[in-house]
Amino acid sequence: MPSDWVEVEKVVATTRVKVRRKGEGPPLVVLHHDFGTPPDLPFYDLLAQSFDVVVPEHPGFGESERPVWMRSVRDLAALYRALLNELEVERPILVGLGFGGWVAAEMATMGAGDVERLVLVGSMGIRPNEGFILDQALVGYMDYAQAAFEDPARFDAVYGAQPSNDQLELWDICREMCFRIAWKPYMYSVSLPFLLSSLPVRTLLVWGREDKIVPVSTAAQFEEALPDATLSVIDNCGHAVDMEQPEALGGLIRNFCTG
């Protein structure tokens, strides 16, 4: 982790949560993917040029303590609202990446007045009308993470062509936690679209056109469900827009939040 990131730990809902923070400006919270996050993504640094960036590690994912009590993504969303309260982060911009998009959307439905803007990137949380959310239970750890990328070279640049055994183990831990809270229905909520329909929060939807994890057509379902949403689809990009096209995504977020 670069030294200019500050790492703090907070105990919320009996659970110790690790948070990294950097930058000045409006508070912006990034909620990472289901397969965890490397600590030092260029995307985070890019955002930190314009925002007070807060990146919590989902509890139970990676090295943080597993909340054995947690049963749903809504539980995780509620925990995060308590965490932001502890951190005294007020009216943040919520940026949710893939699985993190689902968490962000749930957080917004719990109190729209607390959210400045919502950015959902390749978001899970809604059952696709066409196709399915890719089931990680059926594919290898590396295969799943690779499926998040349109360009294999981008995957290699982030994780290395042969990720370490430590990385494989982290992916297994992330996967176990996904199963614990999102096994069935897998990676969506049947009630979320209804709750989104009255969400008075300006929302930016971003999708990689070649998303192999959440079908790009799902973006239109979010757009239809949300009262105030703008959609931007990025060409030559897969599910992990943050890792494949960090500058494009960073630019979209900056424009959206300052516009």
Binding site: L138, G140, L168, E169, I173, E176, C178, F179, R180
Partner: protein, 412 residues
Amino acid sequence: MHLMYFTEQPMSTYPAQAGLDFGATALMFSNKHFDPVSGSELYNQYIEQYLLAEEVGIDGIMLNEHHNAPFCMQAKANVFAAILAGMTERVKIVMLGNPLPLAENPVRLAEELAMIDMISKGRLVSGFVRGGGQEQLAAGVNPAYNRERFEEAHDLVVQAWTREGPFRFEGEHYQHRVVNPWAVPLQKPYPRVWVPGVISKETIVWAASKRYPYIALNTSIEQTKGIWKLYDEVAAEAGYEAGPENRGYLIQVHVSDSEEKAVENARQFRWMQGEFTGLAHPVWSTPSGYGSPSNRRAFVEFAAGRRDNPRGQTTFEQQMEDLRIIAGTPDTVVPKLRRILEETRPGILALWGNDGTVSQADSLTCIRLIGEEVFPAIRDIAKELDLKSPFEANAPVGIGYDENGAMAGAAG
């Protein structure tokens, strides 16, 4: 000594080449390759095998179930148990077992097992398993809660068998408003529970803490000894001394009237390309959260093709050498089994006699030779070595019960 016959009930007519072409013979290998015409024939052949097993004096028939794969045709062990309850007179019906975590309603399982126990006039042994990793995926059951569901479903089933209803059950994974089954087991306090397993230490510890016999599935002699060491330690902590009545062993043994034919047929124990549950992606057989945390590293490395299967994989020849596969005539098989009995001292022994494409005629010959020649010799050896089954030892059904089935320490 309790002596059993077992077959996986292989779906032996599936096109093997199609499996090799697909690269897997489990979970995702399409059931378009399942032919119900030969399925019907095979199910009836297995019934014929079981009836012969009873006729030639075998003590018990061991049943199991698996899903989405040709290595085992039993999708519901209770179906065959019910058939045997009605069609046989004497053999124990030994479920090894019902995969508890797969049950969304364990009370219904308790009812089915109670019906089987009553119809069979008290011949049920109700073993329980966690189910393989692929079973969780096939059934859509969360592998991350597998062990919690196993233990909780067990508690609910035993309560459904032993507590006066109606009562309410509020667990972590199971909640039931009214538990009041109008079907309870004939055997009291409840049918014997045996627990089979391969690798998980947690299962051995759990079985020993419940005083349930543990059935080691085709482990090597050294592995088996390690299992008993752990079991005995937990038993001592729980306040009892474990013995042969707590120990079971399943081994692949094909018996024939000629050595050559026996070895040839025994090769069929490897018919699923050496993996008895078939070729599969490692993350299917060990989904995240299913295995012991202590094995996590080994399994993720295996899943990435960076190490050997932690469950072990050896050649046919090595397995013959290690006595994990035994093949021969009764004269050559018995001394090998004697060595296993001497080294590991089980009170329960199951012979997995036939697998793969072994013909029905050869399967029946195997069963006849086991019942008429191998098992009588094994009984003599067991007597000499003082290897008593739970029935012979009149062992308590479980921890907290005495040999009369009363709650230990209860007055009267």
